[in-house]
């Protein structure tokens, strides 16, 4: 949706510049509608993300259309990594990801403030150690 909005916006400006004012206005209208939709979906997706550190496990919730709730026991955690892409870095954010022996496990917490990410990472690592269980 984001890419489509951008393309339409550029097209609208170009068409308007070329003189076809009616078409330009129609395209800009479409941009407006798409932009509102985009804002709505992003907000919903953002508010669907959530995590909760419990005594023995970590809960991570996400997804609007397909909602997922993962429960990862600390004892099953193999390692935690913190990544920050260029975009995330420019906003001072980071993603914490938990890895278990199962590839299907899906526990990722994106968009944490960097200090919070470091705290979560250390906390998880510490709890993982105290709960450690063999395969």
């Amino acid at each position: 949706v984001g890419a489509a909005t951008l393309v339409l916006a550029v097209l609208g400006v170009v068409v308007a510049a070329l003189g076809a004012v009616v078409w330009g206005i129609a395209l800009l209208g479409a941009v407006l509608v798409l932009g509102v939709l985009l804002e709505r979906t992003l907000t919903r997706r953002f508010s669907a993300w959530g995590y909760l550190e419990r005594a023995d496990d970590l809960l991570v919730r996400r997804g609007v259309l397909f909602s997922r709730l993962s429960v990862v026991p600390y004892g099953r955690m193999q390692f935690v990594d913190v990544t920050a892409g260029p975009l995330e870095r420019s906003f001072g954010l980071a993603t914490v990801r938990l890895h278990t022996a199962a590839a299907a496990s899906d526990a990722r917490i994106p968009g944490l403030e960097r200090a919070e990410a470091a705290r979560v990472r250390d906390q998880l690592a510490e709890r993982g150690e105290s709960h450690l269980a063999g395969l």
Binding site: D56, F66, P73, T100, A101, A133, L135
Partner: protein, 438 residues
Amino acid sequence: VTTTLPQQRDWQRLHPLSAVVRGGKLTIALAIVLVPSILFGRESASRGLYDLITVAVVTVLAFISWLVTRWRLDGDDLQIETGLIRRHSERYPLSQLQAIDIVRPGLARLVGVAELRLRMGGSTGARARLAYLSEKDAEPVRAELLELARRARHDEPRSAAPAATAPERLLADLPTRRLIVSMLISSAGLIAVLVAAALIVTAAVSTKVAVTAIGVAGFWIVGVGQQVWSRFNQGYRFSVSDTPDGLLLHGGLVALTTETIRPGRVQAVRMVEPLLWRPFGWCRLELDVAGRQKRKGEGRGAGRPLRTVLPVGTRPQAEELLDRVLPDRPRDALAPPPARVRWKSPLRYRKLGWSRTQTCVMTRSGRLNRVTCWVPLGKVQSFREVQGPVQRFLELSSVHLDTAGGNVRAILRDRDVVEADSVLVELVDLARAARAAA
């Protein structure tokens, strides 16, 4: 540390013909090219000379590779050294040993040697190869390594394997007739038969068309043929028996394999009952053993964590094997899904269900084939509750149990939302208790 066979503390070499067998197809190709020209050919002296040089170089290389490879037992470690220019020394702590497989490819059987594959635990899943030992050494060395491994493990508090000297007990074997029948009525077998029939009919009508058809579909035919062959090769004279170390799998037509699986390593179990096998009451039983990556130089089946312990078996045989692997498991008393699931999964609806005990979960699903999975709760890596749009509309959701192998997908599919939520909480608690007990 005590020793059983003191002479094995010293450096040992592999069988002198190892390199020949290791060359495998290359050796065969070389023999096919060279032998006729040496025996009969001799068109020109230079050709003969080249052949001689090739043979000499290969022999010297083989000899060097044999000379620089050696192994020994050092305390509780197995040490293998190899390489002439780049020395490579590997140490495998026997306390980590999971299983030892004896593998005999076709060429190795011809020469009379066998390979020992030691599968180690840990997430890396390293694998030591002793390739090759002479056939009569293989069994004693394997027994001794297993004995040492058991002793090394006894130092740990959670040592499990009882050192009983109970003999092997045959749990199930596979009559060749059943293997052939089962393959004929499997999907791959049916396709192969249909293709063959179609080809014969076209050939009767017009040979040219048939040849073209073979040419066009050749790649595909080879693929199906290979699949059928490998299934037959693995299943031929297959047997499973119960030993103190775990389940002992044995079988093969050209390449003989012997493999031991420790029940404690099993992450999940899957039983598949294909639609066409159901009239015969047959099933296939597969174990998911802890995940590991495939390494270079290993056979095709070796890298797959999913081990077939019963290629084609009857239900009683499967039950007996399951008793050995998962003693505490739910019996057939499955909770059916809500009736509205019929609208979402019409083909699965009749098969869906799940059940549990304190330590084990059983799920059943499948569209045409009936697939039943068992997962010990102590082995579950993480839980997920997933709800798609259709499920939301029908107020359903699925609970996934993620295991380390990842080949068995145990899913409590399409449960009522309220039930799924409470089940998730319940299973998480049970899994914690199971981990604590382990």
